[in-house]
Symmetry: C2
Subunit: 209 residues, 2 copies
Protein backbone atom coordinates (compact mmCIF):
# COMPACT_ATOMS: atom_id res chain seq x y z
CA UNK A 1 0.00 0.00 0.00
CA UNK A 2 1.25 3.50 -0.78
CA UNK A 3 2.48 5.69 2.09
CA UNK A 4 0.71 8.76 0.66
CA UNK A 5 -2.96 9.29 -0.23
CA UNK A 6 -3.55 8.43 -3.89
CA UNK A 7 -5.77 10.88 -5.82
CA UNK A 8 -9.28 9.48 -6.21
CA UNK A 9 -9.14 10.02 -9.97
CA UNK A 10 -6.18 7.61 -10.09
CA UNK A 11 -8.05 5.04 -7.97
CA UNK A 12 -10.95 5.37 -10.40
CA UNK A 13 -8.77 4.37 -13.35
CA UNK A 14 -7.39 1.20 -11.73
CA UNK A 15 -10.58 -0.86 -12.35
CA UNK A 16 -10.41 0.15 -16.02
CA UNK A 17 -6.79 -1.03 -16.22
CA UNK A 18 -7.78 -4.29 -14.55
CA UNK A 19 -10.68 -4.77 -16.98
CA UNK A 20 -8.34 -4.28 -19.95
CA UNK A 21 -5.76 -6.70 -18.50
CA UNK A 22 -8.50 -9.30 -17.97
CA UNK A 23 -9.56 -8.92 -21.60
CA UNK A 24 -5.93 -9.32 -22.72
CA UNK A 25 -5.65 -12.50 -20.64
CA UNK A 26 -8.77 -13.85 -22.35
CA UNK A 27 -7.10 -13.07 -25.67
CA UNK A 28 -4.12 -15.20 -24.61
CA UNK A 29 -1.65 -12.37 -24.00
CA UNK A 30 0.88 -12.63 -21.16
CA UNK A 31 2.98 -9.48 -21.58
CA UNK A 32 1.83 -5.94 -22.30
CA UNK A 33 3.27 -2.44 -22.22
CA UNK A 34 2.04 0.92 -20.99
CA UNK A 35 1.91 1.89 -24.68
CA UNK A 36 -0.34 -1.04 -25.61
CA UNK A 37 -2.63 -0.40 -22.65
CA UNK A 38 -2.73 3.30 -23.54
CA UNK A 39 -3.73 2.59 -27.15
CA UNK A 40 -6.47 0.23 -26.01
CA UNK A 41 -7.85 2.66 -23.43
CA UNK A 42 -7.38 6.00 -25.17
CA UNK A 43 -5.07 7.24 -22.39
CA UNK A 44 -1.39 8.22 -22.65
CA UNK A 45 1.31 5.72 -21.70
CA UNK A 46 2.85 8.35 -19.39
CA UNK A 47 -0.40 8.58 -17.44
CA UNK A 48 -0.62 4.82 -17.03
CA UNK A 49 2.98 4.60 -15.81
CA UNK A 50 2.42 7.51 -13.42
CA UNK A 51 -0.84 6.04 -12.06
CA UNK A 52 0.79 2.66 -11.41
CA UNK A 53 3.91 4.24 -9.87
CA UNK A 54 1.81 5.33 -6.87
CA UNK A 55 1.67 1.68 -5.87
CA UNK A 56 5.14 0.34 -6.73
CA UNK A 57 7.19 -0.98 -9.62
CA UNK A 58 5.19 -3.45 -11.70
CA UNK A 59 7.25 -3.68 -14.87
CA UNK A 60 10.86 -3.63 -16.02
CA UNK A 61 12.13 -0.93 -18.37
CA UNK A 62 11.91 -2.33 -21.87
CA UNK A 63 10.30 -5.61 -20.81
CA UNK A 64 6.77 -4.37 -20.18
CA UNK A 65 4.29 -5.73 -17.69
CA UNK A 66 3.56 -9.36 -16.89
CA UNK A 67 -0.24 -9.41 -17.21
CA UNK A 68 -1.05 -12.07 -14.58
CA UNK A 69 1.25 -10.40 -12.04
CA UNK A 70 -0.05 -6.87 -12.66
CA UNK A 71 -3.65 -8.13 -12.57
CA UNK A 72 -3.02 -9.84 -9.24
CA UNK A 73 -1.41 -6.70 -7.83
CA UNK A 74 -4.33 -4.51 -8.96
CA UNK A 75 -6.81 -6.97 -7.46
CA UNK A 76 -4.90 -6.78 -4.18
CA UNK A 77 -4.77 -2.96 -4.24
CA UNK A 78 -8.51 -2.75 -4.98
CA UNK A 79 -9.24 -5.42 -2.30
CA UNK A 80 -10.67 -7.75 -4.96
CA UNK A 81 -8.70 -10.78 -3.77
CA UNK A 82 -12.01 -11.88 -2.19
CA UNK A 83 -15.73 -11.89 -3.09
CA UNK A 84 -17.72 -9.01 -1.57
CA UNK A 85 -21.31 -9.75 -0.59
CA UNK A 86 -23.80 -7.20 -1.90
CA UNK A 87 -27.36 -6.31 -0.89
CA UNK A 88 -29.71 -5.20 -3.65
CA UNK A 89 -32.58 -2.90 -2.67
CA UNK A 90 -35.30 -2.53 -5.29
CA UNK A 91 -36.85 -5.40 -7.25
CA UNK A 92 -38.12 -3.47 -10.27
CA UNK A 93 -36.92 -3.87 -13.87
CA UNK A 94 -33.45 -2.56 -13.05
CA UNK A 95 -33.21 -4.67 -9.90
CA UNK A 96 -34.17 -7.70 -11.96
CA UNK A 97 -31.44 -6.95 -14.52
CA UNK A 98 -28.85 -6.53 -11.74
CA UNK A 99 -29.97 -9.71 -9.94
CA UNK A 100 -29.73 -11.74 -13.15
CA UNK A 101 -26.44 -10.25 -14.35
CA UNK A 102 -23.80 -12.99 -14.51
CA UNK A 103 -20.74 -10.75 -14.65
CA UNK A 104 -20.38 -9.57 -11.05
CA UNK A 105 -18.84 -12.65 -9.46
CA UNK A 106 -15.78 -12.79 -11.71
CA UNK A 107 -15.13 -9.16 -10.83
CA UNK A 108 -15.34 -9.57 -7.07
CA UNK A 109 -19.02 -9.16 -6.16
CA UNK A 110 -21.98 -11.37 -5.36
CA UNK A 111 -25.52 -10.22 -4.69
CA UNK A 112 -26.61 -12.19 -1.62
CA UNK A 113 -30.00 -10.75 -0.66
CA UNK A 114 -32.71 -8.62 -2.28
CA UNK A 115 -35.18 -6.30 -0.53
CA UNK A 116 -38.26 -4.41 -1.68
CA UNK A 117 -41.02 -2.50 0.11
CA UNK A 118 -43.89 -3.57 -2.15
CA UNK A 119 -46.08 -6.14 -0.37
CA UNK A 120 -47.00 -7.63 -3.76
CA UNK A 121 -43.33 -8.41 -4.42
CA UNK A 122 -42.18 -9.58 -0.97
CA UNK A 123 -41.93 -13.36 -0.95
CA UNK A 124 -41.91 -13.55 -4.76
CA UNK A 125 -38.80 -14.70 -6.60
CA UNK A 126 -36.40 -12.50 -8.51
CA UNK A 127 -34.04 -14.75 -10.42
CA UNK A 128 -32.49 -17.02 -7.77
CA UNK A 129 -33.61 -14.80 -4.88
CA UNK A 130 -36.74 -14.57 -2.76
CA UNK A 131 -37.55 -10.89 -2.31
CA UNK A 132 -37.30 -9.88 1.35
CA UNK A 133 -39.31 -7.27 3.25
CA UNK A 134 -37.34 -4.04 3.53
CA UNK A 135 -38.51 -3.74 7.13
CA UNK A 136 -36.19 -6.68 7.82
CA UNK A 137 -33.20 -4.95 6.19
CA UNK A 138 -31.49 -3.66 9.32
CA UNK A 139 -31.72 -6.86 11.40
CA UNK A 140 -30.87 -9.09 8.41
CA UNK A 141 -27.78 -7.13 7.44
CA UNK A 142 -26.59 -6.72 11.02
CA UNK A 143 -26.22 -10.49 11.17
CA UNK A 144 -24.26 -10.55 7.90
CA UNK A 145 -20.86 -9.32 6.76
CA UNK A 146 -22.36 -7.42 3.81
CA UNK A 147 -20.90 -3.91 3.49
CA UNK A 148 -21.94 -2.99 -0.08
CA UNK A 149 -25.37 -2.07 -1.45
CA UNK A 150 -26.88 -1.50 -4.86
CA UNK A 151 -29.73 0.97 -4.57
CA UNK A 152 -32.31 0.61 -7.35
CA UNK A 153 -35.30 2.40 -5.82
CA UNK A 154 -37.24 5.53 -6.86
CA UNK A 155 -35.57 8.86 -6.04
CA UNK A 156 -38.28 9.86 -3.55
CA UNK A 157 -37.42 7.02 -1.15
CA UNK A 158 -33.68 6.76 -1.82
CA UNK A 159 -32.53 8.92 1.11
CA UNK A 160 -34.75 7.12 3.60
CA UNK A 161 -33.47 3.71 2.42
CA UNK A 162 -29.90 5.04 2.55
CA UNK A 163 -30.40 5.86 6.24
CA UNK A 164 -31.42 2.25 6.87
CA UNK A 165 -28.47 0.92 4.87
CA UNK A 166 -26.00 3.02 6.86
CA UNK A 167 -27.64 1.92 10.12
CA UNK A 168 -27.24 -1.68 8.95
CA UNK A 169 -23.48 -1.28 8.48
CA UNK A 170 -23.32 -0.64 4.74
CA UNK A 171 -20.20 1.34 3.80
CA UNK A 172 -20.41 1.56 -0.01
CA UNK A 173 -23.52 2.34 -2.07
CA UNK A 174 -23.90 2.04 -5.84
CA UNK A 175 -26.74 4.51 -6.26
CA UNK A 176 -29.04 4.06 -9.29
CA UNK A 177 -31.68 6.44 -7.90
CA UNK A 178 -31.58 9.75 -9.78
CA UNK A 179 -30.85 11.89 -6.72
CA UNK A 180 -27.88 12.94 -4.63
CA UNK A 181 -27.59 10.93 -1.40
CA UNK A 182 -26.40 12.38 1.88
CA UNK A 183 -24.20 9.94 3.81
CA UNK A 184 -21.93 10.20 6.86
CA UNK A 185 -18.16 10.35 6.55
CA UNK A 186 -16.72 6.89 5.93
CA UNK A 187 -19.59 5.82 3.66
CA UNK A 188 -18.85 5.88 -0.07
CA UNK A 189 -21.31 6.50 -2.89
CA UNK A 190 -20.97 6.04 -6.64
CA UNK A 191 -23.81 7.28 -8.82
CA UNK A 192 -25.20 5.76 -12.01
CA UNK A 193 -27.82 8.00 -13.64
CA UNK A 194 -28.07 7.38 -17.38
CA UNK A 195 -29.83 10.71 -18.01
CA UNK A 196 -26.93 12.59 -16.39
CA UNK A 197 -24.49 10.73 -18.64
CA UNK A 198 -26.61 11.46 -21.72
CA UNK A 199 -27.01 15.14 -20.84
CA UNK A 200 -23.25 15.47 -20.48
CA UNK A 201 -22.91 14.38 -24.13
CA UNK A 202 -25.69 16.47 -25.69
CA UNK A 203 -23.73 19.57 -24.64
CA UNK A 204 -21.17 18.62 -27.29
CA UNK A 205 -23.52 17.59 -30.09
CA UNK A 206 -23.74 19.97 -33.00
CA UNK A 207 -27.08 21.55 -33.86
CA UNK A 208 -27.16 20.21 -37.41
CA UNK A 209 -25.07 17.09 -37.76
CA UNK B 1 -22.70 30.14 -25.14
CA UNK B 2 -19.27 30.77 -23.62
CA UNK B 3 -16.50 32.15 -25.83
CA UNK B 4 -13.93 29.79 -24.26
CA UNK B 5 -13.91 26.00 -23.99
CA UNK B 6 -15.48 24.93 -20.70
CA UNK B 7 -13.67 22.12 -18.83
CA UNK B 8 -15.45 18.81 -19.33
CA UNK B 9 -15.59 18.26 -15.56
CA UNK B 10 -17.68 21.43 -15.31
CA UNK B 11 -19.99 20.28 -18.11
CA UNK B 12 -20.38 17.00 -16.26
CA UNK B 13 -21.71 18.77 -13.15
CA UNK B 14 -24.37 20.79 -14.98
CA UNK B 15 -26.80 17.83 -15.30
CA UNK B 16 -26.47 17.26 -11.55
CA UNK B 17 -27.32 20.91 -10.88
CA UNK B 18 -30.30 20.63 -13.22
CA UNK B 19 -31.49 17.46 -11.47
CA UNK B 20 -31.33 19.20 -8.08
CA UNK B 21 -33.18 22.26 -9.42
CA UNK B 22 -35.89 19.99 -10.85
CA UNK B 23 -36.29 18.30 -7.46
CA UNK B 24 -36.54 21.72 -5.79
CA UNK B 25 -39.24 22.74 -8.26
CA UNK B 26 -41.17 19.57 -7.41
CA UNK B 27 -40.87 20.57 -3.75
CA UNK B 28 -42.47 23.93 -4.59
CA UNK B 29 -39.36 26.08 -4.27
CA UNK B 30 -38.86 29.07 -6.60
CA UNK B 31 -35.66 30.66 -5.29
CA UNK B 32 -32.44 28.97 -4.22
CA UNK B 33 -28.85 29.95 -3.46
CA UNK B 34 -25.46 28.53 -4.31
CA UNK B 35 -25.21 27.66 -0.61
CA UNK B 36 -28.47 25.68 -0.60
CA UNK B 37 -27.50 23.85 -3.79
CA UNK B 38 -24.06 23.14 -2.32
CA UNK B 39 -25.52 21.66 0.87
CA UNK B 40 -27.86 19.45 -1.13
CA UNK B 41 -25.14 18.23 -3.49
CA UNK B 42 -22.15 17.99 -1.17
CA UNK B 43 -20.20 20.56 -3.22
CA UNK B 44 -18.94 23.98 -2.12
CA UNK B 45 -20.96 27.09 -2.98
CA UNK B 46 -17.82 28.65 -4.48
CA UNK B 47 -17.54 25.76 -6.93
CA UNK B 48 -21.16 26.08 -8.00
CA UNK B 49 -20.82 29.84 -8.55
CA UNK B 50 -17.59 29.31 -10.50
CA UNK B 51 -19.08 26.54 -12.64
CA UNK B 52 -22.10 28.66 -13.56
CA UNK B 53 -19.98 31.77 -14.20
CA UNK B 54 -18.58 30.07 -17.32
CA UNK B 55 -21.98 30.56 -18.92
CA UNK B 56 -23.10 33.98 -17.66
CA UNK B 57 -24.75 35.67 -14.71
CA UNK B 58 -27.73 33.70 -13.48
CA UNK B 59 -28.34 35.21 -10.05
CA UNK B 60 -28.19 38.56 -8.28
CA UNK B 61 -25.85 39.08 -5.34
CA UNK B 62 -27.88 38.47 -2.21
CA UNK B 63 -31.05 37.47 -4.07
CA UNK B 64 -30.06 33.97 -5.11
CA UNK B 65 -31.16 32.10 -8.20
CA UNK B 66 -34.63 31.97 -9.72
CA UNK B 67 -35.07 28.21 -10.10
CA UNK B 68 -37.30 28.17 -13.25
CA UNK B 69 -34.97 30.65 -15.00
CA UNK B 70 -31.74 28.83 -14.06
CA UNK B 71 -33.30 25.47 -15.02
CA UNK B 72 -34.31 26.84 -18.42
CA UNK B 73 -30.82 28.26 -18.98
CA UNK B 74 -29.17 24.95 -18.04
CA UNK B 75 -31.52 23.07 -20.37
CA UNK B 76 -30.56 25.46 -23.16
CA UNK B 77 -26.82 25.11 -22.46
CA UNK B 78 -27.11 21.30 -22.39
CA UNK B 79 -29.30 21.35 -25.54
CA UNK B 80 -32.20 19.81 -23.63
CA UNK B 81 -34.75 22.30 -24.93
CA UNK B 82 -35.87 19.47 -27.24
CA UNK B 83 -36.38 15.68 -27.05
CA UNK B 84 -33.48 13.61 -28.42
CA UNK B 85 -34.34 10.36 -30.14
CA UNK B 86 -32.34 7.38 -28.91
CA UNK B 87 -31.61 3.95 -30.39
CA UNK B 88 -31.24 1.05 -27.96
CA UNK B 89 -29.08 -1.88 -29.05
CA UNK B 90 -29.46 -5.02 -26.96
CA UNK B 91 -32.77 -6.50 -25.81
CA UNK B 92 -31.54 -8.47 -22.79
CA UNK B 93 -32.50 -7.84 -19.16
CA UNK B 94 -30.73 -4.48 -19.09
CA UNK B 95 -32.20 -3.45 -22.45
CA UNK B 96 -35.65 -4.34 -21.12
CA UNK B 97 -35.11 -2.19 -18.02
CA UNK B 98 -33.95 0.73 -20.18
CA UNK B 99 -36.84 0.32 -22.66
CA UNK B 100 -39.39 0.29 -19.82
CA UNK B 101 -37.85 3.15 -17.81
CA UNK B 102 -40.31 6.04 -17.64
CA UNK B 103 -37.86 8.72 -16.56
CA UNK B 104 -36.01 9.51 -19.80
CA UNK B 105 -38.60 11.67 -21.57
CA UNK B 106 -38.85 14.32 -18.86
CA UNK B 107 -35.08 14.66 -18.98
CA UNK B 108 -34.80 15.10 -22.74
CA UNK B 109 -34.58 11.61 -24.23
CA UNK B 110 -36.87 9.11 -25.90
CA UNK B 111 -35.96 5.62 -27.00
CA UNK B 112 -37.43 5.32 -30.52
CA UNK B 113 -36.16 1.96 -31.82
CA UNK B 114 -34.62 -1.23 -30.40
CA UNK B 115 -32.27 -3.66 -32.15
CA UNK B 116 -30.91 -7.08 -31.30
CA UNK B 117 -28.97 -9.73 -33.23
CA UNK B 118 -30.70 -12.77 -31.73
CA UNK B 119 -33.11 -14.32 -34.31
CA UNK B 120 -35.27 -15.58 -31.43
CA UNK B 121 -35.80 -12.00 -30.25
CA UNK B 122 -36.20 -10.17 -33.56
CA UNK B 123 -39.89 -9.44 -34.16
CA UNK B 124 -40.76 -10.02 -30.49
CA UNK B 125 -41.94 -7.15 -28.33
CA UNK B 126 -39.92 -5.38 -25.66
CA UNK B 127 -42.24 -3.10 -23.77
CA UNK B 128 -43.84 -0.86 -26.41
CA UNK B 129 -41.23 -1.76 -29.06
CA UNK B 130 -40.91 -4.50 -31.65
CA UNK B 131 -37.30 -5.68 -31.62
CA UNK B 132 -35.63 -4.97 -34.96
CA UNK B 133 -32.90 -6.95 -36.75
CA UNK B 134 -29.50 -5.38 -36.12
CA UNK B 135 -28.66 -5.97 -39.79
CA UNK B 136 -31.19 -3.20 -40.51
CA UNK B 137 -29.52 -0.77 -38.10
CA UNK B 138 -27.52 1.26 -40.61
CA UNK B 139 -30.29 1.77 -43.20
CA UNK B 140 -32.95 2.39 -40.51
CA UNK B 141 -30.92 5.01 -38.67
CA UNK B 142 -29.75 6.71 -41.87
CA UNK B 143 -33.37 7.57 -42.57
CA UNK B 144 -33.84 8.97 -39.04
CA UNK B 145 -32.54 11.95 -37.10
CA UNK B 146 -31.36 9.75 -34.21
CA UNK B 147 -27.85 10.70 -33.05
CA UNK B 148 -27.71 8.99 -29.63
CA UNK B 149 -27.37 5.28 -28.79
CA UNK B 150 -27.59 3.16 -25.65
CA UNK B 151 -25.39 0.12 -26.06
CA UNK B 152 -26.48 -2.82 -23.89
CA UNK B 153 -24.71 -5.72 -25.63
CA UNK B 154 -22.02 -8.17 -24.47
CA UNK B 155 -18.46 -6.81 -24.41
CA UNK B 156 -17.29 -9.18 -27.15
CA UNK B 157 -19.56 -7.60 -29.79
CA UNK B 158 -19.56 -4.00 -28.50
CA UNK B 159 -16.82 -2.67 -30.78
CA UNK B 160 -18.33 -4.20 -33.89
CA UNK B 161 -21.76 -2.72 -33.08
CA UNK B 162 -20.10 0.62 -32.33
CA UNK B 163 -18.67 0.64 -35.85
CA UNK B 164 -22.18 0.20 -37.25
CA UNK B 165 -23.58 2.93 -34.99
CA UNK B 166 -20.94 5.41 -36.13
CA UNK B 167 -21.56 4.47 -39.76
CA UNK B 168 -25.26 5.12 -39.15
CA UNK B 169 -24.60 8.67 -37.94
CA UNK B 170 -24.64 8.14 -34.16
CA UNK B 171 -22.58 10.78 -32.36
CA UNK B 172 -23.10 9.91 -28.68
CA UNK B 173 -23.00 6.44 -27.11
CA UNK B 174 -24.02 5.49 -23.59
CA UNK B 175 -21.95 2.33 -23.28
CA UNK B 176 -23.14 -0.35 -20.86
CA UNK B 177 -20.81 -3.01 -22.30
CA UNK B 178 -17.91 -3.63 -19.90
CA UNK B 179 -15.18 -2.68 -22.38
CA UNK B 180 -13.49 0.45 -23.71
CA UNK B 181 -14.85 1.50 -27.12
CA UNK B 182 -12.71 3.04 -29.84
CA UNK B 183 -14.54 5.81 -31.70
CA UNK B 184 -13.53 8.49 -34.20
CA UNK B 185 -13.08 12.11 -33.19
CA UNK B 186 -16.45 13.86 -32.88
CA UNK B 187 -18.18 10.80 -31.39
CA UNK B 188 -18.73 10.91 -27.61
CA UNK B 189 -18.88 7.96 -25.24
CA UNK B 190 -19.96 7.73 -21.62
CA UNK B 191 -19.43 4.44 -19.82
CA UNK B 192 -21.62 2.74 -17.23
CA UNK B 193 -19.97 -0.36 -15.77
CA UNK B 194 -21.29 -1.14 -12.28
CA UNK B 195 -18.32 -3.38 -11.45
CA UNK B 196 -15.90 -0.51 -12.19
CA UNK B 197 -17.90 1.75 -9.87
CA UNK B 198 -17.97 -0.92 -7.14
CA UNK B 199 -14.24 -1.62 -7.47
CA UNK B 200 -13.49 2.06 -7.05
CA UNK B 201 -15.20 1.94 -3.64
CA UNK B 202 -13.71 -1.30 -2.30
CA UNK B 203 -10.30 0.40 -2.46
CA UNK B 204 -11.47 2.60 0.42
CA UNK B 205 -13.21 -0.03 2.54
CA UNK B 206 -11.43 -1.03 5.72
CA UNK B 207 -10.36 -4.61 6.18
CA UNK B 208 -12.32 -5.10 9.38
CA UNK B 209 -15.26 -2.75 9.61
Amino acid sequence: MPSHPVPDIVVGRLPVYLRALTAMTQEGKVITSSQELATRLGFTSAQIRKDLSHFGEFGKQGLGYNIPFLSEQLRHILKLDRIWGVVLVGAGDLGRALANFQGFQERGFEIRIVFDSNPAKIGQSLGRFVIQDIDQLVPSLHESDIRIAMLAVPARVAQEVTGRLVEAGIRAILNYAPTTLSVPSGVFVQNIDPAVHLQRMTYYLLEHD
